[in-house]
């Protein structure tokens, strides 16, 4: 009952058809409940309108920071809370139950920008940036994709040339979540030895700009933009010292993809809960539409997909907790969970009939968002080929 919402309007964190809850610790359930309540009270009432207007609700940034959900798996000395991977996955699930754009914001902050600094930065860089990023005072973005280098980031054209004691960056990045509102960008570029290097580039560095991409008809409550780099000078102290190859940004992607695999479950759950309630309520031909074979099949299909995705997400999180996961497992989970969520959202939209095409209902917003999620952070096809290579030992990726 946060913020005066009615005591009877608390919604469920389910579905949980396979009784997965007992596999979570009490603390993991508490963390999920906290984020769930937050999203129900602070996000749901206005997300439809924000989405229509194409507005990211930036007033949520300090509130999310106060909950502690930026970089929550990091050690306390960097401002994190040292939570489990399972708990992190549940945070992503509950954020995406609200909107994929909200989860994307948190993913980029935590799994891409902060993770890059944590994993590849110096101790000085960590202490300088991470605590402020956990507090939401500094918003990060992650510049890897380019207009002509998407699925094959190894062909990136952005250059980093040595100049005196520092570096000069030139190039363009595209489809960068948060870039227009970010205070700092992690920029990946090719050096003179053709090695991929990472740089921390603060907003306002001369020669850097981040125009917004304003024509999206998906993920409308999330800010996406370019990063343009024209003779941008940065000091050597802004280079991530431990990042020495393309493997560095790719390992950040593995972090983010894990969060996406968990997050997509939340969007699907929201669509299912909405569809089930609607089907039980909506009368056609003198009975609830839930009492028809066609709708029951649809609801069962939706819940089956969600149950599978939940179990995969949980197991992946457990493996990740033990650092026993592979990037191919992450690829399979991202590929399959997002596609399943997209299918669930579409089925939910169909079940809602004409009502389903309005923003008063949630299915079509989720469905439109998930079109992006299915494509970004490695398309469905790229993940097919990553897993395909893993199970055959043969590389079909170009």
């Amino acid at each position: 009952m946060r913020n005066g919402s009615d005591p009877v309007s608390l919604s469920s964190t389910g579905p949980d058809y396979f009784d997965i809850d007992p596999l979570l610790s009490e603390e993991e359930r508490s963390i999920r409940a906290m984020v769930h309540d937050f999203v129900a009270a602070e996000v749901m009432p206005t997300i439809g309108e924000n989405w229509l207007k194409g507005v990211f609700p930036s007033d949520l940034i300090p509130k999310m920071a106060q909950l502690g959900i930026f970089g929550p798996t990091l050690p306390e000395k960097y401002g994190g809370a040292g939570i489990s991977q399972v708990a992190y996955g549940l945070i992503m699930q509950e954020l995406e139950r609200g909107d994929s754009g909200l989860r994307s914001f948190a993913s980029v902050q935590s799994a891409l920008a902060m993770h890059a600094i944590f994993r590849y930065g110096s101790e000085d860089q960590r202490l300088e940036w991470l605590p402020r990023m956990t507090r939401g005072e500094v918003i990060g973005c992650f510049g890897l994709t380019e207009p002509d280098a998407g699925s094959d980031p190894g062909t990136m054209r952005t250059r980093a040339r040595r100049s005196g004691k520092g570096w000069v960056l030139n190039g363009a990045k595209r489809w960068i979540t948060n870039s227009p509102i970010a205070d700092v960008a992690i920029v990946w570029a090719r050096d003179d030895e053709e090695k991929i290097r990472g740089f921390i580039v603060p907003k306002g560095t001369p020669g850097m700009s981040a125009p917004e991409i304003e024509t999206k008809i998906s993920m409308r409550a999330s800010v996406t933009g370019d990063i343009i780099l024209e003779d941008v000078e940065v000091g050597e102290e802004m280079r991530l010292p431990e990042a020495k190859s393309l493997g560095a940004p790719l390992s950040c992607l593995t972090q983010a993809r894990f969060g996406i695999a968990c997050g997509a479950v939340g969007a699907a759950m929201d669509c299912f809960n909405e569809a089930l309630a609607y089907a039980q309520d909506r009368i056609a031909f003198g009975r609830p539409i839930a009492q028809t074979q066609l709708m029951q099949e649809r609801l069962v299909d939706m819940l089956s997909r969600i149950s599978r995705s939940q179990l995969v997400a949980l197991r992946l999180a457990q493996l990740k907790e033990q650092d026993a996961h592979t990037y191919a497992q992450v690829s399979m989970a991202k590929r399959d969970n997002v596609r399943a969520a997209l299918e669930v959202a579409r089925m939910g939209r169909e079940l809602l009939g004409g009502n389903g095409i309005t923003v008063e209902y949630r299915a079509m917003r989720h469905s439109a968002n998930l079109e992006t999620v299915d494509t970004y952070e490695g398309t469905y096809e790229i993940h097919t080929l990553i897993v395909g290579r893993d199970i055959t030992g043969l590389n079909a990726l170009g």
Binding site: M1, N3, P7, R29, M34, E76, A81
Partner: protein, 252 residues
């Protein structure tokens, strides 16, 4: 100023309640339990009292191990200590006797409870505790100001607000609108995990005999969906309405 907050774990109000086979209790299977929403206001107010006047916030519940979750939620919001009372509490009075005996030992300046629990809606425990302790009680509080000796509280009354003064120690019950409860934070949840929940057993001699006994519990009968008459002119509509009231509803 030391505050004891009384909390109760209740079924999430979104849960569909089923009555267990015995017919006097709800079936706990598949039920998601949360802290009673009115108790969240009580915890929040206690934390604000502490922030303003110093002291300690102790949360207290009566129940089995399962009830620890409500206590952990309060600890994660910022409460300092938690006590779980195990007692054979069968009705509001036996529950209140168990609580009063522990509160007497804790000796706080203030006890705050939710105005009622949303599961059984009895709304008795806070008042009974006050009566058993012989302390002033202010119920359904929407605004609170404290000084070291006493306080002023606003209460919701029909069509307006009543302002009352009271001395300490006292028992207050919290109404929606008293404050905006904070969310537990992640660091709060992690810290709460490491805190110990003190268990206190209260024996049957203290709780005594219940004065109420639940004899039956049933869910409301399902009503069939209504009928909306449309696409008719007024005369036809009136005629159809009369026919339905006479033949279907048998009211006229």
């Amino acid at each position: 100023m030391n505050v004891v907050v009384l909390v109760k774990q209740v079924p999430d109000t979104a849960t569909r309640i089923k009555v267990s086979s015995g017919g006097v209790e709800i079936d706990p299977r598949g039920v998601n339990y949360v802290m009673n929403p009115y108790d969240e206001f009580a915890v929040e107010e206690a934390l604000r009292v502490k922030e303003l006047h110093g002291g300690q916030v102790t949360v207290l519940t009566v129940g089995g191990e399962k009830a620890d979750e409500a206590l952990r939620t309060a600890l994660a919001m910022g409460a300092d200590e938690a006590v779980r009372v195990s007692a054979d509490a069968k009705d509001p009075l036996t529950t209140a006797r168990a609580i009063a005996s522990v509160v007497r030992e804790l000796g706080p300046d203030l006890v705050i409870a939710g105005k009622q629990a949303v599961d059984d809606d009895q709304g008795q425990v806070g008042s009974l505790v006050a009566a058993l302790l012989d302390w002033p009680q202010v119920t359904v509080v929407t605004e609170l100001e404290l000084s070291p000796e006493g306080g002023v509280a606003e209460r919701e009354v029909e069509g307006g607000v009543e302002v009352v003064e009271f001395s300490l120690p006292a028992v207050l019950t919290a109404q929606k609108g008293l404050n905006e409860p904070r969310y537990a934070s992640l660091p709060g949840i992690m810290k709460a995990k490491r805190k110990e929940i003190r268990q206190v057993a209260v024996d049957a001699a203290v709780t005594g005999e219940p004065v109420l006994r639940t004899t039956a519990l049933h869910v409301p009968e399902e009503r069939s969906a209504g009928i909306i008459l449309r696409d008719m002119d007024a005369a036809a509509l009136a005629k159809e309405l009369v026919r339905l009231l006479h033949e279907e509803a048998k009211l006229i």
